[in-house]
Symmetry: C2
C-alpha cells in the first residue's frame, strides 16, 4: 500500500473521477434516490458542523441574530420581484397539492387538494425576509436590522455534482437592512471580508476577493462581491458571495423607516451566503491521491489512534496506552476548542483502519504497537506530508514530546495546508497577457473536451474596460466559446492598466478570467 | 406597571389568548404569509439554538452521528410503506413541477416540467433513511447504526398554532438499526430516557414518561414511548417520542445484515424525535401573566443589565459600571457554558427596556442607577419570583456579593422553575377514580366549549384492561366524546390494580387520561 496510492484514480489521470473517488472513499456523501439531492454522511456532516459553528461565531460577532423563515414562498412573492424571477424562475421546485389520495390502488396527488396559489420551495429567501423586514422596521431606531438563517434551499439543477451543485443544499443566508447606502455598502464589504478571512483561516483556502462583473451579479443586486478559490485543476470555485441590493428589494417590498426628521425613507438592503459547496472546495484544494486532507480546524477527528493488536496478552496494555493518550490529548485545546482525538477500537485489521482514516483526511494518525508501549513512544503520520517520495513517512517520538507538541502540530498542519494552496494559487495566476489570442491559447482553445483536459491552466489576470450591455454580452460570448468566465475584479488592483484585452479601449480594471465550477 | 400585569390578558381569563400574547410580547415568533408556517424570530430562535446544542450533546453522548438526508421523498417510497401511508398520507406537501414559466404575463408551473414521479416534502424520514440503511448495512460489524438529523419537516395542518402545531417545523429525528430486538428495545428506552432527563434538567419541565396506547402509536411502530408534560391549563403536551419499529420498516425496505454465522437477518429499527413544539411547552409550563419565564439553561440572555440614565454627567459612569459588571459575569460559567450577560444600551426609556426583558423571560434583570454606582450595589429582579403580591420585588445587594452569587442564583432559578412545575404536576394528577361517570364529571362532561373552559382539570390516572381492536376503538370514542385522550401508561406503575374503568374487566395497567394539545 505504501508505494501505491490509496485511491484508484489520480488527480492527473482524471480530476473529476478523482473528486468522485474522494467523496466516496472519504465517506463524505452519496447521491440519493431523489434526483439531484445528496445524502451527507456522518464524516461529511461532521465537517459541515464545524464549518457552521465557526462561521456562525463569526457572523454573530458582527451583531447578527439567527432566525428561521418558512421553507415555502408564495408564487406571488417571487412574481413581484421582476429581476429576481429572471434569475431563478427556471429552476424551482413547485408545490401544487397538499394531500395525497389512493386512486385505483395508487397513491396520487389529490385533485381536491390543489393549492389556490402554488408554493415555491425557497431557492433563497430575499422575498420572504423582505416581507418580514417591511413589517418589522418602523423607525431609524430599528436599523441596522441584521439577521441570518441556516437553512436548506432548492434550485433545480440538471447536472449535479455532490457538494458542488445539487438541487438541495445547506447554507446560511444573511440579510440586512440599513438606513442609507453608505451603511449598507460598509456591511456588504464586512460580509465578504468575513468570508475571506473564514476561508483563509478555518478552511485553509486562500482566495481572491473581488467584485463580480455585471452579468454575474445576483438577480436584483447592485453589486455582488465574491471570494474565488483555485482548485487543483486550475478551475475557480465561487465560495461565498455578498450582495449590495440597493433599494431594489426595498422598493418592491416597501421596506421603509421613519428617519429622525420624520420622513419615510427606503431602506438599503444586503444579503450574503456560504453553502455546503465549500466542502467541495476543501476537497479540491487540499485532497491528494491518497484521499482527503482536512485542515485540523474542520476535522471531525483531528487525531486518530489505531492500536496494533496481535491477539496476544499484550493487547489490553496497548489499548489502555491508546485510551490514556487520547484522554490526555482531549484535555488540551486547539483552535479555541477541545482537541478531538479518538481511539479506533473497531474489530478491523489495523492497516485497514489506518488507511481508512488517511483517506478521510485525519491530520494525525497514530499507530501504537507493543514496541511503542514498551518504549513510551508514539508512531504517527502527518496527513499534510504523508509521503517522502512514494514511501509513507512514519515518525516515532517519545510520548511526552508528542503530547507537548500535539497542539502545535495541528496548528502547523493547518498552516502547511494553507501555505501549499497559497503557493499554488500564486504560481498559477498569470498576468501580462494583453492579446485575446494569447488568452485563448493559454486556455487551450480548440480543445473542447472539458472533462478530459488534464493540462493545468490556472487563471489569467487581464485588463478590461468594464463593458456593459451589448458590449459585455459580446465579451461574454467570446469567453463562453472558450468555456471561460470573468470571475471577478480583485479588490487589489494594479497601479496602471493598459488597453482592454477585449476591445482595445483604455482599461479601467483588472479581472480574473478562468474556467470555473 | 407594577400593580398591573405586563400582558393584557391573564392565563385565567383566556389561556389560548394568553399563549398568543406571550408569543407576541416575548417576540418569539409570528405567522408567516405562507399558511401554517411560522417565522421564528431571534429571541425564539435563540432559545431553539440552546435547546439544539444541549440535546445534540446528549444524543451524541450515546455514540450517535449526525447526517443529512434529502428534503424530498419519492412518492413510491411513501407508497411502499402501507401502515406509514395510513398515518401520513392525508397531510403532505406535494411537489409536482420543477420549473415556472411566464404565460400571458403570469408566472405559472411549466406544464413541460411536470415531474414523472411527484416528490413529497418529508413529513419524517423513515422511508428515505431506511433506504440508505439498506445500502449501508452489510454485516453485524456495521451494527448498531446510530444516526440523527436536524431538519425541517412539513405536515399539512389545517388548524395551526405557533410552535404547537405548524405545517413546517424544526426537529431532530434519530434513526437506528440493530442486530436484534433486545438491542433495539434497549436503545428505544435510552432515547426516551434522554428526552425525559433533557426535559427535566434543561427545560425544567417535569414529565411523565410512558408508553402510548396502540391507537396513538407512530404509523408503523410496534411501541411508541412518550414524555408528557402538563401545561398550566391542565392539558397534556406530548414533548418527545421514541419508537421501536420492530422489523416493519426493515422488511419493507430489505434492511438486512449478515450475522456472525453468515445468515442474512432483518434488522430491528428505532426512531425518535423532539421538535420546536417544546418551545410551546416551555411557554405554557413556565409563563406567567407578565410574559415568558425562561429556565436560565435556555435563556439566550440570562442576565440583562439596564442602565438608568438621566441625561446627566453621571451617565457615562453608569454605563461603564454596567459594562464592567457584564464583563465580569460573562467571565463565569453556568450550566457548563459561559454566562450570557448583556447590557441594554438601546436609546429607549429604562422602564420600557426592563419590562421588555421581563416579558421575554430573562431570569435576572438588573437596573443600575446613580445610587447603585455610588454604593457599589446592584438592584435586580428574579423572573421566577417577580412579585410579592402585586408588587414587583426588587432586591438591592452589594455588587461583590451579587457577583459571587450570580451563578448560584441562575441555578436556583432553574431549580425553582422546575420545582414550581413539579408541584403543579404532582398536585394535579389524581388517582382513585374508578367509575367512568366520575371521570366524565371530573373533566366537566357536557361543557363543549373547549377554549372558554377555564376550570383547571388536570390529569386522571385510571386503571384499564389495555383493550385492542374494536374494544379499544369503543373506549377511544367514549374518551373522544369528552375531548379526552389516553396519553400513556406511565413506566411507574402501582403494585395493584382494580377493574378496568371502561370495561369492568381486570385491569392490567394504569394510564393517564387528559385533554391534550
Amino acid at each position: 500500500m505504501s508505494a501505491r496510492r490509496a485511491l484508484n484514480v489520480t488527480r492527473e489521470e482524471n480530476f473529476p473521477a478523482w473528486y468522485q473517488a474522494v467523496v466516496k472513499e472519504a465517506d463524505l456523501a452519496e447521491v440519493s434516490p431523489v434526483r439531484g439531492c445528496m445524502i451527507i454522511k456522518p464524516w461529511g456532516y461532521g465537517i459541515w458542523e464545524l464549518i457552521q459553528a465557526e462561521l456562525d461565531r463569526g457572523i454573530k460577532s458582527h451583531g447578527v441574530d439567527n432566525c428561521y423563515f418558512p421553507l415555502f414562498i408564495p408564487l406571488s412573492f417571487i412574481a413581484r420581484e421582476a429581476q429576481h424571477v429572471e434569475g431563478f424562475a427556471k429552476e424551482m421546485a413547485v408545490v401544487t397539492h397538499h394531500r395525497l389520495k389512493t386512486e385505483d390502488g395508487r397513491l396520487v396527488p389529490d385533485p381536491d387538494a390543489e393549492l389556490a396559489e402554488p408554493l415555491i420551495v425557497r431557492p433563497t429567501s430575499e422575498t420572504v425576509i423582505g416581507d418580514a423586514f417591511q413589517r418589522w422596521i418602523h423607525s431609524y431606531r430599528d436599523l441596522p436590522l441584521l439577521i441570518n438563517q441556516w437553512a436548506n434551499v432548492v434550485r433545480w439543477e440538471m447536472r449535479t455534482r455532490l457538494f458542488l451543485r445539487t438541487a438541495e443544499f445547506l447554507w446560511q443566508e444573511g440579510h440586512s437592512a440599513h438606513a442609507d447606502e453608505a451603511d449598507a455598502r460598509a456591511a456588504t464589504m464586512r460580509w465578504i471580508e468575513l468570508y475571506r478571512s473564514f476561508s483563509e483561516t478555518t478552511l485553509a483556502i486562500p482566495v481572491i476577493a473581488g467584485e463580480k462583473p455585471e452579468h454575474e451579479r445576483f438577480p436584483g443586486a447592485e453589486n455582488t462581491y465574491t471570494i474565488e478559490a483555485m482548485m487543483q485543476d486550475g478551475k475557480a470555485l465561487q465560495s461565498g458571495t455578498s450582495h449590495y441590493l440597493g433599494t431594489n428589494f426595498a422598493s418592491e417590498q416597501n421596506i421603509r423607516y421613519q428617519s429622525e426628521s420624520g420622513a419615510m425613507t427606503l431602506c438599503h438592503t444586503t444579503s450574503y451566503g456560504m453553502s455546503t459547496r465549500v466542502i467541495g472546495g476543501v476537497i479540491m484544494t487540499h485532497g491528494d491521491d491518497d484521499g482527503l486532507r482536512l485542515p485540523p480546524a474542520i476535522a471531525p477527528k483531528q487525531i486518530v489512534i489505531v492500536p496494533i493488536l496481535r491477539g496476544t496478552d499484550a493487547d489490553p496494555a496497548i489499548r489502555d496506552y491508546c485510551d490514556a493518550l487520547a484522554a490526555r490529548l482531549n484535555g488540551a485545546s486547539a483552535f479555541g476548542k477541545p482537541v478531538r482525538a479518538h481511539v479506533d477500537h473497531a474489530n478491523v485489521p489495523s492497516a485497514e483502519k489506518r488507511w481508512n482514516w488517511i483517506r478521510r483526511g485525519v491530520p494525525l494518525v497514530l499507530e501504537i504497537g507493543q514496541r511503542d508501549v514498551a518504549g513510551e513512544n508514539v508512531t504517527f503520520t502527518r496527513r499534510d506530508a504523508l509521503r517522502t517520495g512514494d514511501k509513507v513517512a512514519s515518525h516515532t517520538q517519545p510520548r511526552e514530546d508528542f503530547l507537548a507538541r500535539a497542539v502545535d502540530l495541528l496548528g502547523e498542519i493547518q498552516g502547511a495546508l494553507h501555505a501549499q494552496a497559497k503557493e499554488r494559487l500564486d504560481a498559477n495566476i498569470r498576468g501580462g497577457v494583453t492579446r485575446f489570442e494569447d488568452l485563448a491559447e493559454h486556455f487551450g482553445a480548440g480543445s473542447d473536451d472539458d472533462e478530459g483536459d488534464t493540462g493545468f491552466k490556472g487563471w489569467l489576470k487581464v485588463a478590461w474596460c468594464k463593458p456593459t450591455g451589448a458590449e459585455l454580452e459580446a465579451v461574454n460570448d467570446r469567453l463562453k466559446a472558450l468555456k471561460l468566465t470573468a470571475r471577478c475584479a480583485p479588490f487589489a488592483q494594479p497601479d496602471s492598466l493598459g488597453a482592454c484585452i477585449f476591445t482595445g479601449k483604455p482599461a479601467v480594471e483588472e479581472i480574473i478570467v478562468a474556467r470555473a465550477y
